[in-house]
């Protein structure tokens, strides 16, 4: 079974967004700084007034790994895990679908997709995008 994320008051908007097939980025309501992972306050201006925007879903691969061992259910192996830099500027870790492990490269353009796990949890993943 997939290890569940710990959902707190600071990150609930993100996980609820995924259930609506929306990838959200926390944004400071005062200075409009974007930040991920979310925090309880703006790391730039110290405001506690926070909101979120919906990301375009476009980004590039900033780094990646190919997990081979140990093989932990329910993941399929090899598992390509990517650090995506979104075009809005924040980064997040996700899975890459639709690319053979040997064909993954830093800098490749990718587009978000969503994978429903169950009623409670939907995850984001990324697929190759045309540049």
């Amino acid at each position: 079974m997939i290890a569940r994320p710990g959902i707190t008051h600071d990150n609930r908007f993100f996980w609820e967004g995924l259930r609506e097939r929306k990838l959200r980025i926390q944004r400071c309501s005062a200075c409009h700084q974007l930040q991920h992972p979310p925090a309880p306050m703006c790391t730039g201006c110290h405001s506690f007034e926070l909101g979120a925007i919906e990301a375009s879903g476009r980004g590039t691969i900033h780094s990646f790994v190919v997990a081979e061992h140990p093989r932990i259910p329910p993941f399929e192996y090899p598992n390509v895990i990517v650090l995506v830099e979104l075009e809005e500027g924040t980064r997040l870790v996700s899975r890459l679908r639709g690319v053979a492990p040997d064909d993954v490269a830093i800098g490749q353009p990718v587009m978000v997709d969503f994978e429903r796990v169950d009623d409670e949890l939907t995850l984001h993943c990324f697929r190759p995008a045309r540049s």
Binding site: T8, H36, P37, S63, V65, H69, V93
Partner: protein, 392 residues
Amino acid sequence: MARASFAGRAAIAGIGQTEFSKDSGRSELRLACEAVMAALADAGLTPEDVDGFATFTMDDNPEIEVARAIGAGPLRFFSRVHYGGGAACAAVMQAALAVASGAAEVVVCYRAMNERSVQRFGTGTIPRPGAATTESAHFGWYAPFGLLTPAAWVAMQAQRYLHDFGATTEAFGHVSVACRRHAATNPAAWFHGRPITLAEHQASRWIVRPLRLLDCCQESDGAVAVVVTALERARDLRRPPVVIRAAAQGASRDQHMMTSYYRDSIGELPEMAFVARQLYEQAGVRPHEFQTAVIYDHFTPFVLAQLEAFGFCGRGEAKDFVPGGRIELGGALPVNTHGGQLGEAYIHGMNGIAEAVRQVRGEAVNQVSRVQHVLVTAGTGVPTSALVLGRD
């Protein structure tokens, strides 16, 4: 930066350890007691002399259980440091602060674990999944996607390191070859008598690309303890004091636990560079004044990043520093002369501190000549720590 008032005023007076294995056949608490008793005997002290302990939050042997078993106490100082192996040198720093300030007189630092036979770190389990806690929220950014193991967390930064600096995985291999060469001549090492070649490194199976099996430290059962007391008192004890010339911790801007993926550059370790600046200031030494170094080696890529953080070479230049035997015995900077955690055992960095003490004393099995100062570092990718140990 102000010179730290405790630097040079505390010393390691004794070291002790169990054998290192894959199945100790006894409790972690017993391992802790064996190592602590061995360290006290080495120092020429008794349990009645102990009034403090320092260890890791990840250690599962409460100070009071160790104290009860060995007959120590009363205790007036007990302190623990968080962030996995990043705590190794920090526990010794806690002890140094305590004895230099007078808060305690004899502080024993220990780490004891049946990490291979009971609770393996490499199997991909995380604490309290789904709990509404800050740490579970942290793991939630990684675990649901399968980024579950320490190897995987490090591999993400290692991949970018290769890209940024035009290195190949052979640079990782040179670290592994050096550690295994040193382990091969260390009877205490799990890989005693079993050196490897660069070709064998390159042929070993993938764990998490770009990390292979031979880039990963062992999983081990065992324990190590060190006794810390004031330098003046240590001079009256059984062994020559090993002076704690400098000790520092470091967490840098936008620090995460094993996943500092959000800084402009993720192919470096700014928290360790921050530790390095503090150590150099405290000890008044420069990189060329270390005759040998114990560089935390849970995974080979971060050995490269640490060589850069400490200024042994420039940023991105470790790939050119590690070949040619430079980090092996006889080279300019022999690294991990005990075999490291790749070759000797994975005791969360505490076995490296013991090796640094042996090098300063001149009693290591792979002894480097004319040792004046030894650098020893703690876990990387996490908030970390390091020490400069030297002769009295």
